[in-house]
Symmetry: C2
Subunit: 344 residues, 2 copies
């Protein structure tokens, strides 16, 4: 059996209709819905074929058909067209350019949730290169030292270090100089054990301080730099009966969103061939997050320049409005691009 044009049209019609209503769709509906001028009987024949081919499913005898994962996949792959939707509002928010990146991300994800009525998430951009720019030690008081670690892309990390006895201003200055001459411009890999031992030796009595600073540096530089995930619109999950009527599962989903557990998994798999659009669609069990088998996920990676990359994601039911979602994400990407360009 082959997929011919008419079958494709019918499949498309079925999916479209199902996306709107969430109800199984019957042959009669399609007969009227499309402009093929075919009777319901003919449609029925075709539908039987489509079912045999695995694109649609009958929940029970004498119900209409609903798309299978394979059906959705076909739809997404072949029929999706980029609609440049207007999302003026979004751009406006982006352009307002909150000085705190964090707030901007929260704004974006919230707006996106309101616009699409799905659950959304965004990860903070991670600097691609992970180089140390400089370190600044300062005395806070007798017992505490503050280490400020600045990375490429002006990402900053603070750490308070307890010191057993007071250090003189002079000592602090010396340590500062030492650390910066040795470590500036280094990446994690380049900081060798030998170097660390050398530093400690130089520091003499204050080697324990150095050890703590090095720890902080390691923490700041490596460790996925605590990838932050912001979410919004979790409550939208309740709007789709197929996700919420099993309250066990709904609870698990909500929890996943609240605790952010496993969401990185959605976002970290860049492995697919996204054809340069930066947009990826996972249907049903195509995503590997536990409890999300009944959801579809659309993700887009964005760039803010300087190797700052992050991911935006939308999670909804399988009968998601793929057209709209993909369109929105595309505009959003370009919006973020513009933002960066304006800024430079």
């Amino acid at each position: 059996m082959e997929m011919d044009e008419r079958k494709a049209t019918i499949l498309q019609a079925i999916i479209r209709n199902y996306l709107e209503t969430g109800e199984p769709v019957g042959s009669r509906t399609i007969s009227k819905y499309t402009d093929l001028n075919l009777s319901s009987a003919t449609i029925r024949n075709e539908m039987a074929d489509l079912e045999e081919m695995g694109y649609i499913i009958q929940p029970h005898t004498s119900a209409g058909r609903i798309p299978s994962d394979k059906g959705y996949r076909f739809y997404v792959d072949t029929m999706m067209e980029a609609k440049d939707r207007e999302i003026e509002e979004m751009k406006k928010v982006l352009v307002e350019r909150q000085d705190r990146l964090e707030d901007m991300l929260k704004g974006v994800v919230k707006l996106l949730a309101r616009d699409t009525q799905y659950a959304t998430l965004i990860t903070s951009p991670s600097a691609g290169r992970n180089k140390l720019k400089f370190i600044q030690l300062s005395r806070i008081d007798e017992e505490h030292l503050l280490a400020v670690i600045v990375k490429e892309g002006n990402v900053i990390k603070n750490k308070v270090i307890e010191v057993p006895e007071p250090l003189s201003e002079e000592t602090v200055l010396k340590l500062n100089l030492m650390l910066n001459t040795q470590l500036s411009g280094m990446t994690m890999d380049e900081i060798s054990l030998g170097m660390i031992t050398g530093l400690k030796a130089q520091a003499g009595a204050h080697s324990d301080v150095i050890a703590e600073v090095i720890d902080a540096v390691a923490e700041a530089i490596s460790a996925g730099e605590d990838l932050k995930v912001y979410t919004s619109g979790t409550n939208n999950i309740l709007k789709y009966p197929e996700l919420s009527d099993n309250s066990e599962r709904a609870g698990q989903l909500i929890n996943t969103f609240e605790e952010k557990e496993g969401l990185e998994a959605l976002v970290s798999t860049e492995l697919s061939e996204d054809a340069g659009t930066g947009i990826q669609v996972y249907i049903g069990s195509e995503n590997k997050v536990e409890g999300m088998e009944d959801c579809s996920v659309v993700t887009a990676t964005y760039e803010l320049g300087g190797g700052m990359k992050g991911t935006i994601g939308i999670v909804g039911p399988k009968r998601m409005d793929y057209d709209k979602v993909v369109g929105t994400l595309k505009s959003l990407r370009s919006g973020l691009d513009d933002l960066y360009k304006e800024k430079t």
Copy 2:
């Protein structure tokens, strides 16, 4: 009509039972449940009285009674006894003393949610005194300056400032000195406009940098220092039909928790007479958060010493297990106390 001992016993029995089952409770049940040895008919008489007095409500004729807000209030006020429950697990987590306060708070709130099966929240402790300890300016690169602002309690804020033209190391040192001699130890109120103008004049060509630093200082010092709220167990809301069967409302609740909107309101009202326990109970519409009229909220303030104060809250249905919740919060408070003492 007066509240005598027997009425109180019956009311208590009704509430206890309702907390367990979530179903309206009838006279027959109470007759067997209590050790008063009264027949159901007598109980019915008493219940009629209690209803007249406003402590209980009949959802419809020929249903059992459920407690009214007033009934819960009576229960909470008079019958609650401190049970020192064992929460070894919690203490253990606390004692592990994660170096990052943030992680600790997240851990606590999560554990609390798992233990109680309600939705929970915690606010980051805010330093009571809001004094400036010192300011540190450093050059990041040609165009950027980093301002590190350290407050009492070693709370740190960073701000990257763009500068039109490069500043020499010397200038930065001078600005540093200037800022610190003038501003160290100040509170928000003490920094007058005159002082700011004076600083700007001293800075000469670099007065715009000073302006930005002052802005950052103001932001750091005032503005409730971005009170952070962490939540957990939002999905527990779905476990209580009286909250979740109206999916509109459930969605709103979940949204409130996700966006943290209005949760500050729960937490900021210290105005009540908490008799030194630091624990407060809001029943039904006693709390002022929109959409939370059907919930009860129990909050406890905790202290980490040095004027660092925060609030823990538990949100659940009105038929919350008040005994358990209050007990848990009490232990938790003392746990946090211990943690602080150990540390000093």
